[in-house]
Amino acid sequence: MLPEAVPHRASAALAHQFDTAGQQKEAATLGMWVFLVTEILFFGGLFATYLVYRNWYPEAFTTGSREMLVWAGTTNTFVLITSSLTMALAVHAAQLGQRRLLMFFLVVTMALGCVFLGIKGFEYYTEYLEHHVPGFGLPFHAEQSQHEQIFFSLYFMMTGIHALHMIIGLGIMSTMLWWSYRGIITTEYTNPIEVSGLYWHFVDIVWIFLFPLLYLIGRHVHG
């Protein structure tokens, strides 16, 4: 049995500084989007760096990207998109007040997030074994030129920060699962689930761009 839904003060789940639930929801959505815009520009700086160096050393980026485990990157893209679907379905369940379904979809979303991080970890380990980790005094194996170190530096930086966002997302989803279990999330108060969903989808979008730019750019070169 789940605990009883927590009864809210006065008018259900409406904080006193807001006139209506709609206004409260808009404030929450808007606040999250303002945060996400800062995230867009944060990742944007990394993408700009990628563009500049790829423009300078296109061959190093092509050969570097050919060393990526393309099956892992593709699988992870499918995994993340599926987790975005389950996240959207979690929000849908919250809106309809289906608590068990909400918790189920949150757990599935988190599980898929863990699968993503597991595959990512396996990739990092493979790259470590193949001497594709630049810096730290490690031996670096370049296929053609040492400029590939720049590609791999950017690869580890971008996917590493993306993975950090996934880990933070898992923390947020754990909290949402707890709140759902406690009955804090009701049909009148779905904002936490919705804005957490916005964050999760954003992390998915970053991967949608990272995947082709890191894994696929060298595939058409034969031999």
Partner: protein, 97 residues
């Protein structure tokens, strides 16, 4: 404000399109299209991101203020990328002395 609850069917449709586009971008990468490999990959990525923003993130059904923030963010990203590259890509145009 009446909450806009999308039918589940919408989410499944968007999911199917996203999965297909992922398959497409993966397969297209193996054909030699010259510079259009990157163009195709980015075009598909932008399309996928737009679908996620509009439907999974509900921006299509959000207020105009939210629209303004989202578009503003993407516009500023554009400034960052375009102005940076307008420097790096044009450096070769001036002959070295």
């Amino acid at each position: 404000m009446a909450e806009h609850i999308l039918p589940k069917r919408t989410y499944y449709t968007i999911f199917a399109i996203l999965m297909f586009c992922t398959y497409l971008t993966w397969q297209v990468a193996y054909f030699d299209l010259g510079p259009f490999n990157t163009v195709a990959a980015l075009a598909i990525a932008v399309f996928k991101a737009t679908l996620v923003v509009l439907f999974f993130m509900h921006v299509r059904y959000s207020t105009r203020l939210t629209w303004a923030v989202v578009v503003g963010g993407v516009f500023w990203l554009g400034i960052l990328l375009v102005l940076t590259m307008s420097d790096y890509l044009t450096r070769g145009w001036i002959p070295q002395r």
